[in-house]
C-alpha cells in the first residue's frame, strides 16, 4: 500500500499520511458501528430494543453521542497531573491505532508489509499499558488508581499466554509476517489454521484439537487484554465506578472509548489472521471464477471484516452473558490455567509439527 502510494505521489510524508488515513477511517467507522452494535446486541439479548429514536433503529446514536461528547466541558481536576492527564488518552488511542498499521485487510490493503508484523503488534499494544497507568495515576482519584493498577497487572499478565500462542503459531507457520500467514491459508476454509493448516497429512489431523485449544486460549487472553467482560475489572463499573477513566470527561474519555473498540477489532483481526485464514475466502473467490481480477481484493476485504465482526460479536455476546471475575481470580485464570495450557499446547504443537 505504502509502496504503491509512494510510487503514485512520490512524496514519502504524504504517502505515509495517506496510508495512515485508512486505518483511522476504519477505526472510527468501526467504533461508531461497534458501539451501536453493542447496544443493539445487548438490548436484544435482554428482551428490549436498544436505541430506537435517533435515525432508523437508532443507527445515528453513536454519531449523536460523539457530537455531544465534543460539546462537553473539559474538566481537569486541580490536583491532577495535567501533563500526564492530557497525554494518557492520546497514548492509549495511538497504541491501538498503531496496531492497525500491519493488519492486512486484504492482499492489496495493508499499511505496511513489515516482516515482523505479529511481533510489532505485541510490542505496540504494550503502549496502552503506559497510557492506562498514566491515566490512573494522573487523575489523582483512588478509584482511578486502583483501576489502573489492576489494568496494568492484567494486561501484562495476559501478554504471556498471548505470546505463547502466537509463538506456537509462528513456529508452525515459520513466519512473523501477518500477510504471509494469511496467504498460506488460502483456497478453502479447510486450509485455515484452526483446521490444521494448509499442509495435508497426518499432522494436520493431529493438530486440529490443539488448534481449537490454542484459538480458545488466544481468544480468552485477548479478551482480557482489551478489558472486556468477564475480564473488565479495571473499569468494573459496580466496584470502581469507572476504573481508570473515572475522572475523564468529554472527548478525552471518548478517545478511551474509541481505543477500546479499536482494540476489540484489532485483537479479533489477529485471531482471524492466525486461525481463521485472514482475509481468505472460505469458499473461493467470485472474482476469480468470472475472471474479474480486481474484484478479488474487495472480496477479501469483505471476508476479513465479516470474520472480524463475527468475533467482535462473540465478545459482545460473552459480555452480556457473564459476570466479572475478581482481580485475584483473574490472575489465577491467567497464571494457573491459561499459561500451563498454552505451554503444553506449545510443546505438543511443536512435536506434531516435527512429525
Amino acid at each position: 500500500m505504502y509502496q504503491f502510494l509512494y510510487d503514485l505521489i512520490g512524496n514519502e510524508i504524504l504517502a505515509g499520511l495517506l496510508v495512515a488515513v485508512v486505518p483511522l477511517t476504519i477505526i472510527l467507522v468501526f467504533a461508531l458501528f461497534g458501539i451501536w452494535l453493542e447496544r443493539k446486541v445487548s438490548a436484544h439479548m435482554q428482551d428490549r430494543l436498544g436505541p430506537m429514536r435517533t435515525g432508523w433503529h437508532g443507527w445515528l446514536q453513536t454519531v449523536a453521542d460523539l457530537m455531544k461528547m465534543l460539546q462537553k466541558e473539559d474538566i481537569i481536576a486541580t490536583d491532577a497531573d495535567k501533563t500526564l492527564y492530557n497525554i494518557a488518552p492520546v497514548l492509549v488511542f495511538s497504541g491501538s491505532f498503531a496496531a492497525y498499521a500491519v493488519i492486512p485487510f486484504s492482499s492489496k490493503l495493508l499499511g505496511s508489509e513489515v516482516e515482523i508484523g505479529i511481533f510489532y503488534v505485541l510490542a505496540i499494544s504494550s503502549l496502552v499499558v503506559a497510557g492506562i497507568l498514566m491515566a490512573g495515576w494522573s487523575a489523582n482519584n483512588k478509584y482511578s488508581l486502583l483501576g489502573a493498577m489492576r489494568a496494568v497487572a492484567q494486561i501484562i499478565s495476559y501478554e504471556i499466554p498471548t505470546a505463547l500462542i502466537v509463538l506456537s503459531m509462528v513456529m508452525l507457520m515459520g513466519t512473523l509476517s501477518l500477510d504471509k500467514i494469511s496467504q498460506m491459508q488460502t483456497s478453502s476454509f479447510w486450509n485455515w489454521n484452526i483446521f490444521g493448516g494448509a499442509v495435508f497429512g497426518l499432522s494436520k489431523f493431529l493438530l486440529i484439537p490443539f488448534m481449537f485449544i490454542a484459538a480458545l486460549i488466544l481468544f480468552i487472553s485477548t479478551l482480557a487484554e482489551v478489558n472486556r467482560v468477564p475480564f473488565d475489572i479495571p473499569e468494573a463499573e459496580s466496584e470502581l465506578v469507572a476504573g481508570y477513566f473515572t475522572e475523564y470527561c468529554g472527548m478525552k474519555w471518548g478517545m478511551f472509548m474509541l481505543a477500546e473498540y479499536g482494540n476489540m477489532f484489532a485483537v479479533s483481526a489477529i485471531i482471524v489472521i492466525l486461525f481463521f485464514g485472514g482475509y481468505q475466502s472460505p469458499i473461493g473467490y467470485f472474482g476469480n471464477s468470472i475472471g474479474v481480477q480486481w474484484l478479488v481484493p474487495f472480496e477479501q476485504g469483505f471476508w476479513f471484516i465479516a470474520k472480524g465482526l463475527t468475533l467482535v460479536f462473540v465478545q459482545m455476546w460473552l459480555r452480556w452473558t457473564l459476570p466479572r471475575l475478581r482481580v485475584d481470580q483473574l490472575m489465577t485464570v491467567c497464571w494457573k490455567y491459561l499459561i500451563p495450557y498454552a505451554f503444553l499446547n506449545l510443546i505438543i504443537i511443536g512435536i506434531i509439527s516435527l512429525l
Binding site: 447496544r39 438490548a43 435482554q46 428482551d47 428490549r48 430494543l49 436498544g50 436505541p51 430506537m52 429514536r53 435517533t54 437508532g58 445515528l60 446514536q61 454519531v63 449523536a64 453521542d65 460523539l66 457530537m67 455531544k68 465534543l70 460539546q71 462537553k72 466541558e73 473539559d74 474538566i75 463499573e237 459496580s238 465506578v241 469507572a242 473515572t246 475522572e247 475523564y248 470527561c249 468529554g250 474519555w253
Partner: protein, 163 residues
C-alpha cells in the same frame, strides 16, 4: 471549556443550523448519572429495564459524574445528602441537566411537613430543569419528563442561553 460557554452575539443562518445539529446531538444522548436515592430509584431502574427501556432514548447510566449529562434526583433528599448532591452536580461537565423525579425531590413530598431532616425540594440546592410528579412516578411519567427535557434542549441556542 464547553462550546456552549461561548456566546455568539450575531445570530446568522449558519449558527442556527449548527444549533439544530448540536441540540439534536445533546438531546439524543442524555447519559444519566447512575445514582439512586430512595423509592424512585427502583422505578428509575425499572425504566431502564426491558419493559420501558431508557436505552431507546439514548439514555445510559454512567456511574461517574464526569461522563454524565443528566442527573435524575430519584427520591428523598435529606439534609445530609443535599451537600453531596450539590457536589456531584458540580462535578458534572457542562452542559448538564437535572430531572427532579418524584414528590420528595420536587418539594419534600410526604415529608414536607414533619420531615425535620428532609430537604424541601432539590431546587433549593441545584437548578432543576424538569419536575416529574408522582410518588413514585410511573416509568412512563419519567419518560415523559425526559421528553419534556428533550423539548427544552431543542429550544436552546448557542446565541443566547436559556436560563
Amino acid at each position: 471549556m464547553g462550546l456552549l460557554d461561548k456566546e455568539f452575539s450575531d445570530g446568522n443562518i449558519v449558527i442556527a443550523r449548527v444549533d439544530d445539529l448540536m441540540n439534536w446531538a445533546r438531546l439524543s444522548s442524555i447519559w444519566q448519572l447512575g445514582f439512586g436515592l430512595a423509592c424512585c430509584a427502583i422505578e428509575m431502574m425499572a425504566t431502564s429495564a426491558s419493559h420501558y427501556d431508557f436505552d431507546r432514548f439514548g439514555v445510559i447510566p454512567r456511574n461517574t459524574p464526569r461522563q454524565a449529562d443528566a442527573i435524575i434526583i430519584s427520591g428523598t433528599v435529606t439534609l445530609k445528602m443535599a451537600t453531596r448532591i450539590k457536589r456531584l452536580y458540580e462535578q458534572m461537565p457542562d452542559p448538564k441537566y437535572i430531572i427532579s423525579m418524584g414528590s420528595c425531590a420536587n418539594c419534600g413530598g410526604p415529608y414536607w411537613e414533619h420531615g425535620y431532616h428532609v430537604l424541601k425540594g432539590i431546587d433549593r440546592v441545584i437548578p432543576v430543569d424538569v419536575y416529574v410528579p408522582g410518588c413514585p412516578p410511573r416509568p412512563e411519567a419519567l419518560l415523559e419528563g425526559l421528553l419534556k427535557l428533550q423539548e427544552k434542549i431543542r429550544n436552546e441556542s448557542l446565541r443566547k442561553k436559556i436560563a
